[in-house]
C-alpha cells in the first residue's frame, strides 16, 4: 500500500531503503516556500536505529501491512520480551531495544497487542494506559499542590514513577507506559 507522507502517523510502519521502520514522530511542517513537508523520525524494527526523514507532504510512501494480534505477555530477560499467541500457543520474542521503556510497565500474564509482518513480530502496540499497584511510596508531606507537586512511588513491576502527593501504597493507579506519566487512581 502507498500513502501520501502527509497522512503518516506515529506508530505506523513504512518501507525505507528496503527495510521496515516504525514512525516515532511525524510533524507536518510548512516552510516559507515550496511544498509542505512531513518531518518524521523512524525506528528500524530490526536494529532499533533512529533516523530522521523529511518527506514532501504529498510524496508517495510505501506502507507496511501488519497484523495486530493480541498475545499474552509471558516474561522478559535481559535482551528480549516474550509473548504467547493463545490461539495456537506459538511463542514470539521481541528485542527489548525495540519495545523500549514500555516494557518496564508490562505485567506478566496480561494481554497486549503484538504487530506481525510476514508472520514475524516486529513491534508491540503500547496500551494507552496500564493499571499498576503502588508497592511503596512515602507518606504525603504538605506541598505546593497548585504546581502539581509529585513524589516517587514504586509500582508492582519494579519501576518508579512520579505520582501526586495523595497517592498511597496499596492503591492502584493508571500510567501511560510510553511516557511513564501518572494518570489517575482507580478502584480494584
Amino acid at each position: 500500500m502507498r500513502t501520501n507522507a502527509g497522512n503518516l502517523k506515529k506508530g505506523e510502519f513504512i518501507f525505507y531503503q528496503g527495510e521496515v521502520w516504525q514512525i516515532q514522530k511525524a510533524d507536518f511542517y510548512s516552510p516559507g516556500k515550496g511544498s509542505a513537508l512531513m518531518k518524521t523520525r523512524v525506528k528500524n524494527v530490526k536494529s532499533a536505529k533512529n533516523v530522521d526523514i523529511t518527506y514532501k507532504s504529498n510524496e508517495s510512501v510505501e506502507t507496511v501491512d501488519v497484523e495486530s494480534v493480541e498475545m499474552q505477555y509471558l516474561y522478559k530477560d535481559t535482551e528480549n520480551i516474550y509473548f504467547m499467541d493463545s490461539r495456537n500457543y506459538n511463542q514470539y520474542s521481541l528485542p527489548l531495544n525495540i519495545v523500549g521503556t514500555v516494557a518496564d510497565y508490562l505485567k506478566e500474564g496480561q494481554r497486549y497487542f503484538v504487530y506481525l509482518h510476514d508472520e514475524q513480530p516486529i513491534s508491540m502496540r503500547p496500551p494507552m494506559s496500564v493499571r499498576l499497584k503502588v508497592i511503596s511510596t512515602e507518606e504525603a508531606v504538605k506541598g505546593d499542590t497548585v504546581s502539581g507537586a509529585k513524589k516517587p512511588a514504586q509500582v508492582e513491576t519494579g519501576v518508579t514513577v512520579m505520582v501526586p502527593l495523595f497517592v498511597k501504597a496499596g492503591e492502584i493507579i493508571t500510567i501511560n507506559p510510553e511516557t511513564g506519566q501518572y494518570g489517575e487512581r482507580v478502584k480494584e
Binding site: F28, G32, G34, S35, L37, T54, K56, S60
Partner: protein, 336 residues
C-alpha cells in the same frame, strides 16, 4: 480538538513570562515603540504557502468577511510608512493547516521588529543584543545550555545558504543556483524529484540535511542570502541571485526570519499578483488583498529591516522545554 489545562507547566510558563518582560524592557530601552495591532483584518497580504482562518462580522443584514492575521506585518508596515520610527509587536498570529506539534501551532505568538535605515545584517546585531539581554536576565550569564548544546550569545556563527549547502549537503554553488543541476543532484541523492519544483526540493534538502546542523557550534547560527526564489518580501542582493534574508537557529531550532524589506512597490505588486495566482491554483481561501499596503509602500516606506520571531520557540529555548506546548497552561490539542 480538546482543551487541556496543564498546571504542571507552571515552571516553564514562568520563564515564558520572564522572556516576555525581557523583550519589552530591551526594546523599550533601545528606542523601539511597542505597537498594539488588531488580529482581525478585512484584507491580508497574499502568501501562497500559508492558509488563513476566515470568519465573518455580522450586523443585522450586513455581513463582511474578516480574517485572523497570520502576522502583524501588514499593520506594522502601514504605521511605519506614517513615520512612527523603529517599532515592534508581540501578538497572536494564526495559521490554518498547521497541526499542533513540538514546534508548531495554528495559534502562536509572534514577535515582529522593524528597524529603519537598516538592512538585515544591521538588525542581526540588535537581535544578538536582545538574546544576550534575555540570557543575562534569566541566567545571569552570556550563555545557556539547551538539549546539551552550549549556546553563547556573544557572537553569531554566520554562514551563507550557499556555504551551508556545500558544507552539509555537498551541493556546490553552481548546482544550487541552477534549477536543472539542482534537481539532478537531488535525484542522485535519492530524493523524489519527478513532478516537484526547485522550491520543493530546496526546502526538503534544507530541512533534512542543513537545519539539523545549525546553531550547534557553541553559538546561535545566522544563515543568510537565500536564493531569489525564496525572496518573499525581501530585497535582492546586487548579484540578483540571492535575497537579503536570514534565518537564525539555536540547537537546530529555527527561531526567526529576517528581511531587508522590499520597498519597491512595483516589484511588490508583481509578487502579490503571483502569490494570489498560486493561492487560487492551490485551492486556498481567497481573501481581499491589502491594496492600501501597496500604497503605503509607494508613498513612504523607508529603507528598513524586519524580523519575525516565533515567540514560544524563543521562550522554549530559555525555559529548556522540549516543546512549545510545555510553555502553556492551557492547550488545544488535535487528537487525530
Amino acid at each position: 480538538m480538546q482543551i487541556h489545562t496543564n498546571p504542571q507547566n507552571l515552571k516553564y510558563y514562568k520563564v515564558y513570562l520572564k522572556v516576555e518582560e525581557g523583550v519589552h524592557s530591551f526594546l523599550k530601552k533601545n528606542g523601539y515603540l511597542k505597537i498594539d495591532v488588531p488580529v482581525l483584518s478585512p484584507a491580508l497580504i497574499p502568501e501562497s504557502y500559508l492558509e488563513v482562518f476566515k470568519t465573518e462580522y455580522r450586523f443585522f443584514n450586513r455581513k463582511e468577511p474578516l480574517y485572523l492575521t497570520p502576522s502583524p506585518e501588514l499593520f506594522l508596515k502601514r504605521i511605519l510608512s506614517k513615520g512612527v520610527g523603529n517599532c515592534y509587536s508581540l501578538v497572536k498570529a494564526f495559521r490554518n493547516h498547521e497541526p499542533p506539534s513540538s514546534l508548531h501551532s495554528f495559534e502562536f505568538t509572534m514577535l515582529e521588529i522593524y528597524k529603519l535605515n537598516s538592512n538585515y545584517l544591521d538588525l542581526a546585531e540588535d537581535l544578538l543584543a536582545l538574546l544576550r539581554h534575555l540570557c543575562n536576565q534569566i541566567f545571569q550569564k552570556d550563555h545557556l545550555v539547551f538539549k546539551g548544546v552550549i549556546v553563547d550569545f556573544r557572537k553569531w556563527e554566520k554562514i551563507t545558504v550557499s556555504e551551508a549547502f556545500r558544507k552539509f549537503a555537498s551541493v556546490n554553488e553552481r548546482e544550487l543556483f541552477d534549477r536543472e543541476s539542482f534537481l539532478r543532484r537531488a535525484k542522485k541523492k535519492g530524493y523524489v524529484v519527478d513532478g516537484y519544483s526547485y522550491e520543493d526540493l530546496f526546502s526538503q534538502i534544507y530541512v533534512q540535511e542543513i537545519e539539523p546542523n545549525l546553531g550547534k557550534n557553541g553559538f546561535p547560527t545566522l544563515i543568510y542570502d537565500y536564493p531569489r526564489q525564496f525572496a518573499a518580501l525581501a530585497k535582492l542582493n546586487k548579484d540578483k541571485k540571492t535575497a537579503q534574508r536570514f534565518e537564525f537557529y539555536i540547537a537546530g531550532v529555527e527561531l526567526g526570519d529576517c528581511y531587508s524589506e522590499l520597498t519597491d512597490w512595483k516589484e511588490q505588486e508583481a509578487r502579490f499578483v503571483e502569490e494570489e495566482k498560486k493561492r487560487l491554483r492551490t485551492g486556498k481561501i481567497m481573501h481581499p488583498v491589502d491594496k492600501d499596503f501597496l500604497e503605503a509602500l509607494q508613498y513612504g516606506l523607508e529603507n528598513c529591516a524586519g524580523i519575525a520571531i516565533g515567540f514560544e520557540r524563543l521562550a522554549m529555548i530559555f525555559a529548556g522545554a522540549a516543546s512549545i506546548q510545555e510553555l502553556k497552561l492551557i492547550t488545544i490539542t488535535d487528537n487525530l
